[in-house]
């Protein structure tokens, strides 16, 4: 396991849907599942691997976490402080470029999935 960050065991929840968020996370090693809960059902949205990040939406929106993140197997996760991240972006806006790029990919992916759902129904 990676020397940096915090260790999570298989099945351990890193972020709970609905809680307030004051940090973002970057996966150093391992895989996590992104799970949204609605009407008592769990929906697996995607899996994320090494170098992927999550938890950024709550930082930018100031809202609660939109999904639960659960470790799939052992994982090592690095926490990025809100102050460190937002302060860094103010100092160097290009720091947000990769986040914007990834969020853009995710919106594109969700749009395509939504379109497929519409077609199926």
């Amino acid at each position: 396991m990676s020397s940096l960050g915090k260790h999570y065991e298989d099945g351990e929840v890193i972020v709970h849907q609905g809680e307030n968020g004051n940090c973002m996370y970057v996966i150093q090693e391992g895989t996590v599942d992104v799970i949204a809960s609605a009407d008592g059902r769990e929906l697996h949205l995607r899996s994320l691997g090494a170098n992927d990040f999550f938890g950024e939406m709550a930082l930018f929106e100031g809202e609660t976490r939109t999904a639960t993140i659960r470790s799939n197997g052992p994982s090592q996760i690095l926490t990025i402080d809100k102050k460190s991240l937002l302060g860094g972006i103010h100092e160097d806006p290009s720091l947000a470029f990769r986040i914007l790029q990834t969020m853009s990919y995710r919106i594109r992916d969700l749009t395509e999935r939504l379109a497929r759902c519409e077609e199926e129904t």
Binding site: S2, S3, L4, G5, V26, L78, I80, D81, E91, F97
Partner: protein
Amino acid sequence: MVALDGLSLFGSASGDLSPGSDRTLVDGSRVAVIGAGPAGSMFSYFLLNMAGTIALDIDVDLFEPRLFSHCGPAGCNHCGGVVSESLVQRLATEGIALPDSVVQRGLESYTLHMDVGDVEIATPMHERRIAAIYRGNGPRESEPLKSQSFDGFLQQLASKKGANLVHRLVTGVRSDADRMRVDCADGFSDVYDLVVLASGVNSRLEKDIEESGAQFRRPNRIKTFICEFKLGQDVIRETLGASMHVFLLDIPRLEFAALIPKGDYVTLALLGDDVNEELMDRFFSAPEVRNCFSGGRIPKHVCHCYPRMNSGGAKPPFADRMVMIGDCGTTRLFKDGIGAAYRAAKAAARTAVFHGVSAADFEKHYLPMCQKVEVDNRYGRVLFGVASLVQRARFARRGVLHMTVSEQGKSERPKRMSDVLWDLFSGSAPYREVFLRTLRPAYIADLLRHLVAGNIGSSRIDGNPAAGKEGERYDTH
């Protein structure tokens, strides 16, 4: 040899700035980066990354005569080797995760040693976010099996982005019409649209520029001492753990000293005014230092050096088609030099890609970052000055220790002194921010209270399991 076209090349010094618009990087432009330490490799990486976003096709030659796969001095850039908490986070956000092979040890705390006692200050997030690394591939005679040099890792990143690694020693930089010519020891010579000097603070090139008559002053430098002890993983786990050990000792001319555990080795970094044998003897004789080693015996070091450190930036750190980054430009005082190299590399790359490569462009878009660091370093000098006073005043040391131990013992208590010490030792926050925190009434009131409490008899800290060890060693006499 350095020959630049007169003083006007150094725009800010002469006040005769050339217009920026005619000196820009275009498709096919060539950039020479001299030195593949963190500043040079990160500049190359970010330059090519940013150029890629606007489909700008440029060539980058990254000159570095050393091979970072070598152990000992041949592959080393002589440095304590700590990647700060803030830089670990920035790099992770950029998508640059430091692999296990590079991180010799993830550090989760700082242990402050003083003659009045010790205290362990845990990382604010209780997470390993400081990376102990080797700039080369380990000390002399070490086994380069699993470890990878930090500088080598960054060099590979730059190479994967498209930088050409050139294993040549650059001996001269000179103007050639409206471009820059780079000369190497083996006779190689070529012209470039931009030269980036990232050759460190001990570079001969900067000395040549200074002596060429140009209005340029290379950085001020102070001598440091760095050595490596081979202790083995098990001994390190028992004696030092995953903690960086820093010393505030009442030894004349000693500014700062730290023991940094890494794999089988421990690095000692010692800063001071005119570091010499006498200073080192006094340091190694101190019981606080001896107690960090098994049996109180200081082993023979396997590798040592006296590198110089930048203690005041180059002026000005740019010219037409030339910019100085990292230790040969402007860096943070004493701490987080690699973090400062990252900021300078990005600022210089942004300027070159999106604005231009004239002295006017660098003055407008790169210099503000350097000035911000210089201003912050002034606050740093004040803070380190106060730390020197604390080093020399026993009652102050007792107050600081008392306040820190009591904060570390109670998780719900505001960690005012702990945070100040953490940020001062780790370089995680700007010095200005740390300085302003020490002016807050709550901090001053707390400190006064602990100065009193720490200097009267019944000062042991109760209900502090984490600090039990420190409590035992806390000296109340």
